[in-house]
Amino acid sequence: MDLSVAPSALLQAFIAKTLRVTTKDTRMFVGELKCTDRESNLILSQTHEYRLPKFKPEDVGRKLDLTSRFLGLVVVMGVDISKIELEESGGGIGFVGSSSVAGNSSLEATAMEA
């Protein structure tokens, strides 16, 4: 492959940037990329785990916190990854109104409230 930018240089640009990695069990991990390899295995530092709470009928209209917790340094295997996203603007690590990720409008609304 004739690349004007070597793959390693391209990947190097991702290093120390915040990624949001979705695993095949639908959890998301937001952390800073420290290391990667040919298999897309990722080492993320300062990582938070997010999981979508299941909705029950009585919860509609209530403010719901997304379940999140701090994990620190983690390894995510490439084979377990279903999606990698890059954080583009500065500031904190947050859930953006990207409906493709949240996939639930009521969740978004609560996220906005929070």
């Binding site: 690349l3 004007s4 793959p7 390693s8 240089a9 391209l10 990947l11 190097q12 640009a13 991702f14 290093i15 940037k17 915040t18 695993t23 069990d25 959890r27 991990f29 800073e32 990329l33 420290k34 290391c35 390899d37 040919r38 897309s40 080492i43 300062q46 938070h48 785990e49 999981r51 916190d65 999140s68 917790r69 701090f70 994990l71 340094l73 983690v74 390894v75 490439g78 377990d80 990854i81 279903s82 999606k83 990698i84 996203e85 890059l86 954080e87 583009e88 603007s89 500065g90 500031g91 904190g92 690590i93 947050g94 859930f95 953006v96 109104g97 990720v101 996220a111 906005m112 929070a114």
Partner: protein, 767 residues
């Protein structure tokens, strides 16, 4: 292809990412401002770029080392990833079972107590209290007031609001849970306030869950009281024994919390009521069988939610009986340590610390932490004294230096040329310098036994330096006060009171290091003789030193001392002070002599056993005796006095090749007899003259254990002599008994080998 590569560089060009602000917060359970970040899907790009890498090629942050990566949690690995769902497992938390029987509530309370005590015993909150679904439910809303600290459970037909069944859960169990969490909060605060070893003694990690720290104790009390009132009221339809069981548990929580949240000032004023806790505990024990356990309300799944940088750990819930023992012991120990607030001299205090912390099993981390706070919390000693009071008492009780050192008028003098001013400066230095070492020594004694031994190895280096510094100060002081020299061992000498005191403590610590080596089973039996030799060497040195101290108690000063005219009367030591210092030295001499005799007996006994082949040196393919000796002597090698002797000398002194084995055993017999005589004398002394006023029971128990070791060694020697004389040694085998004797003096049990069972056919016929 060109297009694709363009895409790559284009993507690269667009990879404009502003400098990241590091998220310093440990945890965020709410979502941050949603407008601040935008995520762009780079999955395809990333994967393609990765595939362009060589096998084994890494792209990494230059500051990141793979060594760090060892500590990373592996996501999706069941052993590492606490958030991983088992296949088929739903993420929705299972409906929490809502009990409707009071027996079930009693059961849950007792299970919670087991969890709480497992935490006290060293497991993490994530393995114990936090695994209870009710605790999780209560804390997951992060309550900051008592009103918010409640369960949020779906309403049930069977649990109509206001009914007794409803109150069981939403008043009684809730109050108990809130009380328990608040207890944990105070225990955690206490342990964090003092020095203990995280993970080794106790896990203070709360995974960023607030243990109701913003809820006040009176509020919790009110809640517990209203639960008790409800049980007492006519609304509660349960039988009396059930009511009693529930009430005892709630009342215990209330009292336990009151004690755990009590500050030192309160304790000094004797407001503690651990006895109340102990009484209620006995009711809890009696009503234990009324409870019906509900195992389903504890779940490991809670760990999925905890902010934890460590892999998942299994649930720990010790049996109720064990938990009951732990909590009972905690209450008794916490009550016992209050005795130190009745200060009755430094030597008594030290004896208490030594005996209390040597207890088996060792007092809990909480109690050992509280003991440190009582001793020197907020820089106040025992709640009302200054550390200098205790330190100087300790010096006076043993050495009784010249009165001029302690004259209160020294402090009033402001003229730098004035002798009193100069004395005061030196004493001030001593209080600060030695005071620090002295506090550290007490705190170190409160650590777990292995740490105590390890830390003592560091402490003796400090005390050795302190000794040298004090010798200099002693020299200056003796000139300032015009001390009269005295003839001692054919030499004219001075008291050197301060450095003498330091030296004595240093020697004791050196002994403790080796003694603890026995207690912690660091040494192998073939090393015993050598290690006892060192002990007896240290003890002999200390005995000589004590003789010297006795000789120089209350040294006299020249009658023409310039201080004579301005001496304050209250600073003068009375005849009784002198007598009591002498008594202290005599007692310490007797104790050291008893130990020395026992150590000597042990040297001969274990040397004889080695000669007779009953204690064998295991094969040491990568080591030698000399290397091991070097290792054992490592803590002492830098100590100026007493010296570590060379390995060759050590070997011949321990092995004593010139003495016949039988003769050696006869000598050992003499030693055990002498030792026994000394220990007998010690046991006849009063608690006051043994400086065991605060812990007489523990002190006497310790003496009895010494005696038992002494007698045990005597028996072993007799058996051995008999075996040699009757030539039945080949039939003998030994077993070192660590359990039934003093932990510092394990005794060999010598018995004849179990004979093999007789063969079915007598051997003579077979032949």
């Amino acid at each position: 292809m060109a297009n694709k590569s363009g895409g790559f560089s284009d993507a690269f060009a667009r990879l404009h990412v502003s400098d990241k602000i590091l998220d310093g917060h440990q945890v965020t359970s709410t979502i941050k401002s949603p407008t601040s970040a935008n995520f762009r899907d780079v999955t395809q790009l990333f994967h393609q770029a990765c595939q362009g890498l060589e096998v084994g090629q890494l792209v990494k942050d230059p500051n990141f080392t793979l060594f760090e990566a060892v500590g990373a949690l592996e996501i999706m690995d069941p052993k590492m990833d606490s958030g991983l769902l088992k296949s088929g497992e739903e993420d929705t938390p299972a409906e929490i079972y809502q009990p409707s029987l009071p027996e079930e509530i009693i059961g849950i309370m007792d299970q919670l107590l087991s969890s709480e005590m497992s935490w006290h015993d060293g497991a993490a909150l994530s393995q114990t209290v936090f695994t209870c679904l009710y605790i999780d439910n209560l804390l997951s809303m992060n309550p900051s007031t008592i009103e918010e600290a409640k369960f949020s459970l779906p309403p049930l037909e069977s649990h109509q609001h206001g009914t007794p069944v409803y109150q069981l859960l939403h008043l009684i169990l809730r109050a108990y849970c809130v009380g328990l969490i608040k207890c944990c909060d105070h225990v955690n605060r206490q342990i964090l306030a003092e020095h203990t070893y995280e993970e080794e003694d106790f896990v203070t990690q709360t995974y960023n869950v607030s243990l109701l720290e913003f809820v006040s104790v009176p509020d919790v009390n009110k809640l517990l009281s209203s639960a008790i009132e409800y049980i007492d009221s006519a609304l509660a339809p349960w039988p009396n024994n059930i009511k009693m069981a529930l009430k005892a548990r709630l009342a215990f929580r209330k009292l336990f919390l009151a004690e755990l949240s009590r500050d030192v000032r309160d304790m000094v004023e004797k407001r503690s009521n651990w006895d109340g806790c102990i009484t209620l505990l006995s009711t809890i024990g009696i009503t234990r069988n009324l409870g019906k356990s509900v195992p389903s309300v504890f779940s490991i799944a809670v760990q999925r939610k905890l902010a934890s940088t460590v892999p998942p750990r299994p649930i720990v819930q010790i049996p109720f009986e064990e938990a009951f023992t732990i909590v009972s012991r905690l209450c008794k120990d916490a009550k016992e340590i209050l005795r130190i607030l009745n200060y009755s001299g430094a030597t008594n205090l030290m004896t208490f610390f030594l005996r209390f912390t040597a207890r088996k099993p060792q007092p809990s981390t909480y109690v050992r932490s509280l003991l440190q706070t009582l001793f020197y919390g907020d820089h106040i000693a025992l709640g009302r004294l200054q550390i200098s009071d205790i330190l100087l008492d300790d010096v006076k009780e043993l050495c009784l230096p010249a009165d001029d050192l302690f004259d209160p008028r020294n402090e009033l003098s402001e003229m730098p040329s004035n002798t009193r001013y100069q004395i005061h400066q030196r004493m001030k230095w001593f209080v600060e310098r030695a005071g620090n070492s002295y506090i550290t020594l007490y705190r170190t004694i409160c650590q777990n036994r292995s740490r105590l031994r390890r830390n003592l190895c560091h402490l003796i280096v400090d005390w050795d330096a302190l000794q040298i510094e004090c010798e200099e100060i002693d020299g200056e002081l003796q000139q300032l006060i015009k001390e009269e020299p005295v003839l001692h061992n054919d030499n004219i000498s001075y008291a050197f009171s301060l450095s003498s005191w330091v030296y004595h403590y240093k020697l004791r610590q050196m002994e403790w290091i080796i003694f603890l080596g026995f207690e912690l089973e660091v040494y192998l039996p073939y090393e015993f003789a050598g290690m006892y030799w060192y002990l007896q060497y240290f003890l002999r040195t200390r005995l000589q030193h004590l003789e010297r101290i006795r000789h120089f108690i209350h040294p006299s000063v020249a009658s023409d001392s310039p201080l004579a005219s301005t001496r304050s009367k209250e600073a003068l030591a009375s005849a009784q002070d002198v007598a009591s210092a002498q008594a202290t030295v005599n007692f310490t001499l007797l104790e050291a002599a008893a130990l020395q005799e026992l150590c000597s007996a042990m040297i001969y006994l274990y040397t004889a056993l080695a000669r007779l082949g009953l204690v064998k040196t295991p094969p040491q393919p990568y080591s030698t005796d000399a290397l091991r000796y070097e290792l054992r002597m490592k803590p002492f090698i830098t100590i100026g006095c007493p010296d570590v002797i060379s390995f060759e000398d050590f070997k011949s002194l321990v092995d004593n090749p010139d003495i016949e084995t039988l003769e050696m055993l006869e000598m050992a017999t003499e030693n055990t007899k002498e030792g026994r005589k000394n220990f007998d004398l010690l046991s006849k002394m009063s608690a006051a003259s043994s400086h065991a006023m605060l812990c007489e029971e523990g002190y006497r128990l310790n003496l009895r254990e010494y005696l038992r070791s002494c007698i045990g060694a005597g028996v072993a020697i007799v058996v051995l002599i008999k075996a040699i004389k009757t030539n039945t040694l080949a039939d003998m085998e030994i077993e070192i008994d660590q359990g039934s004797y003093h932990p510092w003096f394990p005794v060999p049990r010598i018995s004849s080998k179990k004979r093999p069972p007789l063969p079915a056919v007598p051997p003579t016929i077979a032949r």
